[in-house]
Amino acid sequence: MSRQIIAEFPFVERFDELSAEFPGAGLDWLDTMRRTSLDRFNRLALPSTRVEAWKYTNLRELAKTPFEMAEASSGSASLDLSEQAAMGSESAHRLVFANGIYNASLSRLETLPDGVIITNLEDALTTHGSLVRPHLERLSSLEEDALLALNTAFMMNGYVVIVEEGIEVGTPIELLFLSDPSSPTSIHPRNLIVAGAESNAKLTEWHVGSGDSDYWSNPVTEVVVGPEAAVSHRKVQRESASAFHLAQTRVSLAGNATYTGFLMSAGARLSRCEVEARLEGDGANCELDGIYLARDHQHSDITTRIAHTEPGGNSRQVFKGVLDGHSHGVFQGQVSVSPDAQRTDGHQLNKTLLLSEGAEIDTKPELEICADDVKCSHGATAGQLDELELFYLRSRGLDAEEARQVLIRAFIAEVVESVEEGDFQDQLNTIIDDWLSNGLSTS
């Protein structure tokens, strides 16, 4: 078996034709970068399960689907926002991307304080090109990652949030990615968050889809957290049951910077949420928490990589999953500590509940420690609901279904409660209720 899966995606063949419409088309540096990345993707191809990092997530089905590129003509947001009960709040800056296309009329930007840029990539390339370019170039030149290369070659409109030194963006920022295309469509949003020294920002990404058509969302988000800055970055993944969602978030943290990441992954037929955080300054803090819920034949992969390269860093991760039906969960969590990263504190916990006979979890924590003055740990558990606890609840009058729901909620509660804001907690609880109310297997 080869380490590559060769796919012949129609949109990749049509690169030349499509490239004239890309955001920033005509900028020499960007055109070159896209071209180089396309060559890289063609050389690398999609990783097969022979590649260690993809051991448990198979892209074969994805490779078979004849994806086209999202275009303005592939339909705009027929999604009714009001139907997405759990999504968004009234008082927030909001950017909306429908089928990969920026939708100005659904977007809403309140008056922005000085020193804050919230815009889409296309506009940012025109008006703030010199701010955006170094970040795009740095990430794109970094490494041999096929999906990153593909995103770079075809990067579409994503969001750009730049906060200058010392500025606190009080109002939360919401980024909505809505998808309901009519034919197999691939979407490659490219996002950028840059928080200057001692700045502060809170963002929530929603990836929501509907409809029966296959689509593939392949977003890449780069997050640069400056010295003493704090970024809270949440993401909710509720793509449609026909969707592939392969997302990468790349975070770099300077000295005493804090990144608080949260992930709720509940949708898509196949999803992989990959987060990489590099603690590149003394005393950087990274907190990553998440929940994954899967049923039927869903495949849900959470992959994290935390790299401690400087002294005194802290990282904490808690991921909990609930798997029903014939779903397949994957958690891969790598924590590496470089020789210079003394006094690192790195902790990771992964717990999965298996509700049904057909559900499966594969967990691969990875601790790579090359410094001696560190405290690192990881823990992983997998199992079913506790019989005795179920019995206890039923003896108090709850029916079997209620008892199961109570225990499942209790299992994830710790992670929900790690979110500071009540509003977002409520939204998460709505999603969980919604998920539970769709019925659990009784076997």
């Binding site: 999965t352 298996l354 049904s356 979890i361 001696d372 405290k375 823990g379």
Partner: protein, 104 residues
């Protein structure tokens, strides 16, 4: 845990103790569970000897070398005592040899 592994139980603990600043520890377990009635738990820690433990031993008159040797022996003991006698004796010797010159 394969699909037919009804009511199986596994607990794995993997702790690494770091001595000296040129060492490293890589812990990469694979936990694959295809049966919900199986209960799997894995724990791993990596740390250096705690300052409190060193302080406690030294307050009782031990040198830094003696303290490290004692703590490391204890750390290994939990595993060694599970081994058959003849292995345990050999392993114990190895612990002793590998500690020589580790503090300095």
């Amino acid at each position: 845990m394969q699909g037919k592994a009804e009511n199986s139980r596994n607990f794995t603990q993997c702790d690494s103790l770091l001595i000296g600043d040129k060492c490293g520890a890589h812990t990469v377990p694979y936990i694959e569970v295809k049966n919900r009635s199986a209960k799997v738990e894995h724990e791993a820690t990596t740390s250096k000897i705690s300052d409190d433990q060193m302080m406690y031993c030294q307050q009782r008159g031990m040198s830094a070398e003696e303290a490290v040797a004692l703590i490391v022996n204890g750390f290994c003991k939990e595993v060694l005592q599970e081994l058959p006698m003849e292995f345990a004796v050999e392993a114990q010797k190895l612990v002793g040899i590998s500690l020589e010159g580790s503090v300095g």
